[in-house]
């Protein structure tokens, strides 16, 4: 093994609005999309590879994503198959805190996690949306997301009635 070669080489990525970010290979490999790209380049290509352009992620979002992947670079990541049936057994308080952000940022983060294929981040951020909904009444949900109440009284009564027949499987 080449002694001069760092065990976790530097990698650069460029956001859609042209900002360059430096991170490490280990961190960036958490993204399935980038992992596929790098595997495609092959052995020894990483050092010679220029900055990776990410057309679909803006700089604000990319900064958030990089913060997350650098924090989790040494953790074992579940695959997207494993995450399908995942139940919330334990949420890392760091992640809980990390996801405290306004909705626009959260939506952008979800879209980026989906594009970059980072299953754990995608699961955490979509769960965050679900939790925002879970703890609110329908009226509170409407005001949180700016949704218009388009029901007529008769219609809402019908849905409430229908709800009474439904039970958990």
């Amino acid at each position: 093994m080449d002694i001069d070669r760092p065990s976790d080489p530097q990698v650069s990525v460029v956001s859609s609005d042209g900002t360059m970010f430096h991170t490490t290979l280990k961190s960036i490999l958490l993204s399935g999309t980038i992992k596929d790209m790098i595997e495609h380049i092959g052995e020894g290509g990483v050092e010679n590879m220029g900055a990776i352009p990410l057309q679909n992620v803006d700089s604000k979002t990319l900064e958030i994503v990089i913060k997350w992947i650098e924090h989790h670079k040494d953790n074992i990541q579940p695959t997207s198959e494993e995450i399908k049936d995942k139940t919330a057994d334990f949420i890392d308080p760091w992640d809980e805190n990390f996801l405290e952000m306004d909705l626009d940022k959260l939506y952008n983060l979800i879209t980026a996690a989906n594009y970059l294929n980072i299953p754990q981040l995608l699961w955490l951020s979509t769960r965050k949306i679900a939790m925002l909904i879970k703890n609110r009444t329908p009226q509170e949900i409407r005001s949180l997301f700016n949704i218009e109440d388009d029901w007529t009284p008769q219609e809402i009564e019908a849905v409430q009635k229908e709800n009474q027949w439904c039970e958990e499987k």
């Binding site: 989906n114 909904i133 229908e162």
Partner: protein
């Protein structure tokens, strides 16, 4: 800020929806029309909701107008067979429970129409105690996707519809109500025998109070590919020929893995399975308080049995059974006593004991033993929630 279901990509939706239980879904549906549509048309959501139809006369019209694509139905028909079948054809029905509590007879063609309304898609079907009348000819229905059938045998015509082609059917639970008529079984060609002959793909069969089936020797006719057999009878003195025919039926099975005997108070059922060279590796004995006390002389050594689940059996019974099963690898018991634990440690192949509760003395003894002999391989002790374990619906559904 905006509606996540407008801003985000459609392939993200299931990831959000997977975090909701049915109560959350009911609430989420109230937010707006588009959210109601989203919930109602999402397979992710609807697969976990059961639509309960208890008052068809009031509900059917609303069901017709509903956006929700229900897959699971619990139905109390109250005579509305025809209307129900017209509605259900509009759904992709996967799981059906029919609660027909009143034991009145249903018009055969109406019953057939209800079954036909979901026969193409249904995967799990539980029918209540339904007897039909006015059956002019035998009608059979194919259930191409049916995996599990839980059916109470009431009369010949009601059951005969299941004699079509059921390629996927693996698990069948048949029970006979006390009022089912004896003359239904008075022929060698009775309808259940015919069913078990046609459906050679069944691997898991439950016969609950259907000892009448063994009035004749059916062993050479019916399926011989069963892997699991569950049997229960309330008979105190099962006629000898019935018992012998039952044993013949079990012995004819070539792939048998497990036998469950539930609530049999006739010890000869257990002893004849145990002593007659029936090959199976797992035995489940539940709620067997024998009229005749089991004695150690009743059981010969059985080298095939590797696993036994006891429930409500006395530890004396457990002791007798374990003594006669030298190759036992694992067993489950409700209450683990010190005596039974001490005895179990002599069983050379035993690796695991699961229990619901353990005597304090036994636990102390075991811990002490672990402390003293780290290198000696002791069987593992594990706690088990028996009530959960015994929940039949749960065992069937998952």
């Amino acid at each position: 800020m905006g509606d996540p279901f407008r801003v985000l990509d459609i392939d993200i939706f299931p990831l959000i929806l997977q975090h909701f239980d049915t109560n959350d879904l009911k609430k989420v549906a109230l937010v707006s029309r588009s959210w109601n549509d989203l919930i109602g048309t999402s397979r992710q959501c609807m697969k976990r909701v059961i639509c309960r139809i208890e008052r068809p006369q009031l509900q059917l019209k609303m069901l017709e107008e509903s956006v929700r694509q229900y897959e699971n139905f619990k139905i109390s028909p109250h005579g509305h067979y025809q209307e129900l079948s017209e509605i259900l054809t509009h759904f992709y029905v996967r799981n059906v429970w029919i609660n027909e509590t009143c034991v009145k007879e249903v018009d055969h063609s109406e019953y057939v129409n209800l079954m036909r309304s979901f026969s193409d898609t249904v995967e799990y079907l539980q029918t209540g105690d339904i007897a039909t009348k006015n059956a002019n000819r035998v009608i059979t229905i194919d259930f191409p996707k049916l995996k599990k059938l839980h059916c109470s045998f009431s009369n010949r015509s009601a059951f005969s519809i299941f004699n079509g082609v059921n390629k996927q059917l693996e698990t069948v639970i048949l029970s006979s109500e006390l009022n089912s008529r004896d003359e239904e079984f008075s022929t060698h060609e009775n309808i259940i025998t015919e069913f078990l002959t046609k459906n050679q793909q069944i691997t898991n069969l439950w016969l609950l109070h259907l000892e009448k089936l063994f009035v004749y020797d059916i062993s050479q006719k019916v399926t011989q590919k069963l892997r699991h057999i569950t049997f229960t009878t309330n008979f105190q003195n099962l006629p000898q020929h019935v018992r012998e025919n039952f044993i013949r039926f079990i012995k004819a099975q070539r792939c048998l893995e497990a036998i469950n005997i539930m609530g049999c108070r006739e010890k000869s059922i257990l002893t004849s399975i145990w002593n007659n060279g029936v090959k199976f590796r797992k035995l489940f004995v539940i709620d067997c308080n024998y009229y005749d006390e089991l004695s150690p002389y009743d059981l010969e050594k059985n080298m095939n049995i590797e696993e036994i689940d006891f429930y409500l059996s006395s530890s004396v019974h457990a002791y007798f059974l374990l003594s006669a099963a030298p190759n036992i690898v694992a067993y489950k018991i409700r209450q683990l006593s010190k005596q039974l634990l001490e005895f179990s440690l002599q069983l050379k192949k035993l690796k695991e004991i699961k229990f619901q509760s353990i005597d304090a003395e036994a636990l102390k003894y075991y811990k002490n033993l672990c402390y003293k002999s780290h290198d000696k391989k002791l069987p593992k002790l594990k706690e088990l929630d028996f009530f959960d374990y015994l929940n039949i619906d749960k065992r069937l559904n998952g």
